[in-house]
Amino acid sequence: MSHASFPYAPFELRGDALRDAVVRYASNPIYLDNEEWENGDNPYRRQLRPQVLRYLDFDRLPGRDRILEYSSLAAQRVLTSVYEADLMFLPKNGLKDKWEDFQQFYSSTNRVLGETIRPALERFAFGFLDQEVEVSGKWSLESFNEYIESLNADASAPASLSEEAISSSSDRERAARMWLIQFAPDFLSEASPMLRNVLGHYGAPQSEWFKIIIDEYGYGVHDTKHSQLFERTMESVDLQSDVHRYWQYYLGSSLMMNNYFHYLGKNHELFFRYVGALYYTEATLVDFCRRAADLLTEVFDGRADVRYFTEHVHIDQHHGRMALDKLILPLIEAHGEAIIPEIVRGIEEYRVIQDITDKDFAAQIRWMDKGPEYKKLHTPVWEAISSGRVTAPLADIVEPYGELSNTHSHEGDELCHIVSGTMKFVSGFDSHQILHAGEGTVIERNRLHGAIIESDECVYQIHSVGDYTQCL
């Protein structure tokens, strides 16, 4: 028998190998650009824009100040696809002509390629939380209880920035629909990340965990399943409810919120962070859902089916208590106070992401509402460029009729200038400006947008001005 040691080399993917692997994964035909704005009852189609991925650096860890840049949106889109290969999706109206996409999405090659790049993309997507949250000191059950009490998580809270943005929007129904679209990745497959911790064997808390999931899944009665309630909400305000129909309208932060729970659930070494994040989200959801139900009822003049939210107002009072009394405290008793810092970290990481998501959505609604103003800003910015007062990197682009630039964002402000033809510039769900020759628009950094050509041909220029206010 040999006693020679075998050096252990952890798996790691970096540099060109990482970039090539990401592009290889995203080059699957189901991930290529779409010719339509929406995916039609096809849960396997997710536009990952592989043609751009080779230019992104996933080795660099963005700090919070750069977490809304396109690289992060791209990483969150890819991670959503990787995580959801573990979930079962079928089209509402049957597989029919989607059989090939179904096979591709669940194929071994798609799953293996995804798993290969997942750790590096998780590091890129969530590594900033290492800088944002730091737990220190020796925690005891007593100090943990005081900390939990100080959170006051189940107290009434004022309207969030997102809710204020909807209330004050120039098109409140559009803003509210955009809001519901952001929840769709989570709510249409609700509690799926939680199910990742159902398997295994870890004592009584495992059964408590399962009880929460039983509620989320409506006790086997399909019409009470929470995802089904959310489908009714979407349909009641003239949205469609098939999975990822509105993929192109998801903000990076919305995907980040949903992916965070997949990240915690997929990596079981982060179980105790998940327990903390679960407690905080369940405890705060009660008040959030109360406000959401009121807001949607008001905006849609009573037409919105808000049972999804009113059901949570009730059941999450129990879930918050269950997460604390039946999960967290027994886990601390069984495994010791050493797990407390991880639980605290989960709570605070969730709060960081919640804050990012809230601010990002509010900024997107402002961007959508101010579409006509950004169009008007073309005149002074174009004057600064055409007069030579400002010089900026330039891209000349010629596209044919129907060419759809799938949604994306840029790291700096840009000016889109139409030389000839007509472009429909899209800045969010049901939000657009028509741009003719000689017109254009300022594109604000980090704001989601796309475009489609509406003339036989469109010649246009993109001037990367960086900060458009310097051109005024």
Binding site: G137, W139, S140, E142, E146, E348
Partner: protein, 98 residues
């Protein structure tokens, strides 16, 4: 911040950040101005050059930082109704790394 008569600061060292008392347990010297000793395991108080274990200081106050906001738990410290006092205290270079 002063809690129950004891001043505390948030120290950021190369090995991590933590809440620690700003007063040396020896004679009450300004521990927030202490440098890390050559062995890297002690804070050396500027008054009498007495070493205080860093690992012990790290454990003393449970805390969590989210962004620029630090939440520290002083269990039972406010039972008497006394409010914490917030005041500025400079930190030595070793305690304000990042």
């Amino acid at each position: 911040m002063t809690v129950a008569g004891m001043p505390y600061v948030y120290a950021r060292t190369a090995q991590g950040a933590f809440v620690m008392p700003a007063r040396c347990p020896h004679r009450g010297g300004p521990l927030h101005l202490a440098r890390i000793g050559p062995n890297g395991r002690q804070l050396v108080c500027p008054w009498h050059e007495r070493g205080v274990s860093l690992s012990r200081l790290r454990q003393e106050v449970p805390a969590v930082r989210r962004g620029d906001l630090v939440t520290a738990v002083f269990a039972g410290a406010f039972d008497t109704g006394a409010e914490p006092q917030v005041e500025y205290r400079p930190l030595s270079p070793d305690l304000s790394i990042c």
